[in-house]
C-alpha cells in the first residue's frame, strides 16, 4: 500500500453560462444554463513514503484541485483516495493531524497577530509537545532565517517572509506528508533557494513526503526526482525527471565559434541523420559567419563526431553544448507536440 493512493479521482464543478450585456442579464433571469467542468478527470496516482514529487501542468490543469482533494478540503465527485490509510474528506481531523499544507498565495497564518503567536496557536491546535515545539521552532528559525520577523503580524510581512513563515507553520507538527501549492511563486532568487534548501532538508532529515505543484522549473530540477505532468484533468506523464529528459529531450545543439568562416558547412554533415545547421549573427552573407549552431539527435550521432567533421575544415575557437530546458519539454507536452501514448509508455517503462 502506497502512502498516497488515488484511483479514478474526479472533481466536477458546475459553471453558470451567461450571455453578455443587459439583455443577457435579463435572459439569465429566466433561463439558467449550466455547464459541467471537469477540473480533475480520472487521476490514478501512487506516492510512496519519503518521495518528493513535482506535480506540474498549465493553469487550470487541475493541480490545485487534486491537492485540495488529497488534503481533505474538497470532496471528490468520483473515484477513491487513500492517504496514509485514511479517506481524507471522511476522516478529516485524523488526516489533518498528519499533513501540512501551504496554499501558495493564501496564508495559513492569522492576519493580525504576530507570527510567533500564530505558531504558538498552531502548537495548541496540533497538540505539539512543548519540547518538540521549541526544538522545531529553533531549527526552522535558523534554516528559514525568520528571526527578523517573528514578532511581526502576517499583514506586515513581505511575500518572501510570509511564505517562509507559512512553511514553518505547515511543518511545525512534523507532518508525514506536506502539500505545497506553488511554494515559490513570485519570490526572489535568494528566498527561493532558502525555501528549496529547507524542503530538501526536511525531506532528508525527517523523511517527510512532499507533493508540490509549481511553475518554477528550478523547483523541479532542484527538489524532485519524480515528475507528474497533468493537463486538462488527466495525467499525461508520470516518471523520473531524468527519463523524460532522455526520452524527449534527445536533441542537443552545439554552438561553435570558428576562427574563419566555413562556406557550405552543411556539406560537412552529409550522411548524418536529422542535422540542422544554423548560422547565428547578423550577417546576411552566410560564408562570412564565424558562428555555427548545429542541432542533432544525441542518440543518432555524437557530439564528437560533429566536432571532428568541423575541425577537419577549420579551427574551432570555442564551443558549448545546449540541452533543451525542462521548460521547453513541458511546454511541448502541453502543446501536444509529444504523443501522449508514447509518453505514458515511456513513463511505465521507467517505473
Amino acid at each position: 500500500m502506497s502512502l498516497i493512493e488515488t484511483k479514478g479521482l474526479q472533481k466536477v464543478f458546475r459553471q453558470a453560462v451567461k450571455d453578455p450585456g443587459l439583455a443577457g442579464a435579463v435572459k439569465h433571469l429566466f433561463t439558467q444554463r449550466y455547464r459541467d467542468k471537469y477540473a480533475v478527470e480520472g487521476i490514478d496516482l501512487k506516492i510512496e513514503e519519503g518521495e518528493t514529487v513535482a506535480y506540474v501542468g498549465p493553469n487550470g490543469a487541475g493541480k490545485s484541485t487534486t491537492i485540495k482533494m488529497l488534503s481533505g478540503v474538497l470532496v471528490p465527485s468520483g473515484g477513491e483516495i487513500i492517504v496514509d490509510g485514511r479517506v481524507p474528506y471522511k476522516q478529516r481531523m485524523e488526516n489533518a493531524q498528519r499533513i501540512g499544507a501551504v496554499f501558495g498565495q493564501r496564508t495559513q497564518l492569522w492576519w493580525d497577530i504576530p507570527v510567533r503567536e500564530s505558531l504558538s496557536l498552531l502548537r495548541d491546535i496540533y497538540q505539539v509537545p512543548t519540547d518538540r515545539f521549541k526544538k522545531n521552532l529553533d531549527v526552522f528559525t535558523e534554516l528559514l532565517g525568520m528571526d527578523s520577523f517573528l514578532h511581526l503580524s502576517a499583514r506586515k510581512l513581505s511575500l518572501g517572509q510570509r511564505m517562509r513563515a507559512d512553511l514553518a507553520a505547515a511543518l511545525l507538527h512534523d507532518p508525514k506528508i506536506v502539500y505545497l501549492d506553488e511554494p515559490t511563486i513570485g519570490l526572489d532568487v535568494a528566498v527561493k533557494h532558502r525555501i528549496r534548501d529547507f524542503i530538501k532538508e526536511m525531506n532528508r532529515s525527517k523523511g517527510t513526503t512532499m507533493l508540490l505543484t509549481t511553475h518554477d522549473l528550478g523547483d523541479i530540477e532542484d527538489l524532485c526526482e519524480r515528475l507528474v505532468i497533468i493537463d486538462q484533468g488527466r495525467i499525461i506523464y508520470d516518471g523520473k525527471l531524468q527519463e523524460v529528459k532522455d526520452e524527449f529531450a534527445r536533441e542537443r545543439t552545439i554552438h561553435m565559434q570558428l576562427s574563419s568562416p566555413i562556406p557550405d558547412a552543411e556539406e560537412l554533415f552529409r550522411g548524418l541523420p536529422e542535422i540542422q545547421v544554423k548560422r547565428s549573427g547578423d550577417s546576411l552573407e552566410a560564408s562570412s559567419d564565424t558562428d555555427l549552431s548545429i542541432r542533432f539527435d544525441r542518440f543518432r550521432c555524437t557530439a564528437s563526431d560533429i566536432v571532428k567533421r568541423v575541425m577537419s575544415r577549420g579551427e574551432v575557437v570555442d564551443f558549448r553544448i545546449d540541452e533543451p530546458s525542462i521548460e521547453e519539454i513541458i511546454r511541448r507536452v502541453y502543446d501536444g507536440k509529444l504523443d501522449s501514448a508514447a509518453l505514458s509508455a515511456a513513463g511505465k517503462g521507467s517505473a
Binding site: 450585456g21 443587459l22 439569465h28 433571469l29
Partner: protein
C-alpha cells in the same frame, strides 16, 4: 457640452441596473428581508388597533396605507444601494474612481437611481399584492394630490441619497461600514417617521423631528399621499425637502474634498 457629460452618468445608471439584475437573487432576498419587517409591523399595528377607532388621528385604514407607503419609500435606496457606496470606500476601489473623469457624488447618485428603478418596480408589485389582500386602503384620488405625492417621493429619494452619501463618506475614517450603517438607519428610522408616525411622538420629540432633514424622507410623502396635508402646506413640505437636498448636497461636496485629502494622506 452638456449632453456627453450627462450621458456618462446615464450609462453608469444603466450599468448599475444590469448589476442589480446579475445579483438578482440576493437583491430579491434583500427585498424580501425588509418585507418581513413590513409583515411584522402590519400584524403588530393590527393588534394595536383592535378595539381602537383611531390613534393620534390615524384610523386603521390610514395606518395600513401609512405602512405600505413607508415601506415603498424605505425600499427605494435599500441597503443594497447603500452598501455599494460604502464598499467602494472600504475596499479602496474608490481610487479607481479618482482616475476617471467623473464626479464621485454624481456617479454614485446615477448608480443609486439606476437600481432604484428596479427597486421601485419590485416594491410596486409587492405592495400591489399586499393592497389586494388587505383592501381598505385610501390612496389619493384626485390628480393634483397624486402629482404632488409622486413629486414628493422623487424628492424623498434624492434627500435620502444625500443623507446616505454623507454617512457613507464617514467610512473614509473607519475600517468597517456596519457601525455607521446601523447608526444612520436607527436615526433615520426614528426621526423620519418610518417606525411610527411623527404624530404619535410626544410634542418635544415631534418638533425636534420636524426641524431635521429626516422627516422629508417618510413623513412628507406619507402625509401628502394620505391626504393629511394638501395645497400650500404640501408645497411647503416639498420646498423644505428641496432646501435640505441642496444643503446636504453641498455639504457632501465639501466633505468629499476633505475625504479625498484623507486618502492622499493615508495612501488609500
Amino acid at each position: 457640452m452638456i449632453a456627453p457629460a450627462f450621458k456618462k452618468y446615464v450609462s453608469l445608471a444603466r450599468c448599475s441596473m444590469q448589476n442589480t439584475l446579475a445579483y438578482r437573487l440576493s437583491f430579491i432576498l434583500n427585498f424580501l428581508a425588509s418585507f418581513i419587517g413590513l409583515i411584522a409591523m402590519y400584524c403588530l399595528w393590527q393588534a394595536i388597533y383592535t378595539g381602537q377607532d383611531q390613534l393620534s388621528g390615524f384610523t386603521w385604514s390610514q395606518m395600513q396605507a401609512y405602512l405600505l407607503v413607508t415601506f415603498f419609500v424605505n425600499s427605494m435606496l435599500s441597503y443594497y444601494s447603500e452598501s455599494s457606496i460604502t464598499s467602494k470606500i472600504i475596499d479602496g476601489s474608490v481610487m479607481m474612481d479618482l482616475l476617471r473623469p467623473i464626479q464621485f457624488q454624481k456617479a454614485r447618485l446615477a448608480e443609486t437611481l439606476g437600481s432604484c428603478v428596479l427597486e421601485g418596480l419590485l416594491s410596486c408589485i409587492l405592495i400591489g399584492l399586499a393592497a389586494i389582500f388587505t383592501f381598505g386602503i385610501s390612496l389619493p384620488h384626485d390628480a393634483g394630490t397624486l402629482l404632488l405625492f409622486a413629486f414628493s417621493i422623487v424628492s424623498s429619494i434624492l434627500l435620502k441619497f444625500s443623507i446616505v452619501y454623507l454617512s457613507a463618506l464617514l467610512c473614509f475614517w473607519t475600517t468597517s461600514s456596519f457601525g455607521i450603517y446601523w447608526a444612520r438607519t436607527s436615526i433615520t428610522n426614528l426621526l423620519s417617521g418610518a417606525l411610527v408616525p411623527l404624530a404619535f411622538f410626544p410634542g418635544w420629540l415631534q418638533s425636534t423631528a420636524m426641524v431635521l432633514p429626516f422627516q422629508g424622507i417618510v413623513n412628507t410623502p406619507v402625509t401628502i399621499g394620505l391626504g393629511m396635508t394638501a395645497g400650500t402646506d404640501a408645497l411647503q413640505l416639498i420646498a423644505i425637502q428641496w432646501v435640505w437636498i441642496v444643503l446636504l448636497w453641498l455639504l457632501g461636496k465639501w466633505m468629499w474634498s476633505r475625504a479625498v485629502r484623507q486618502i492622499t494622506i493615508h495612501g488609500g
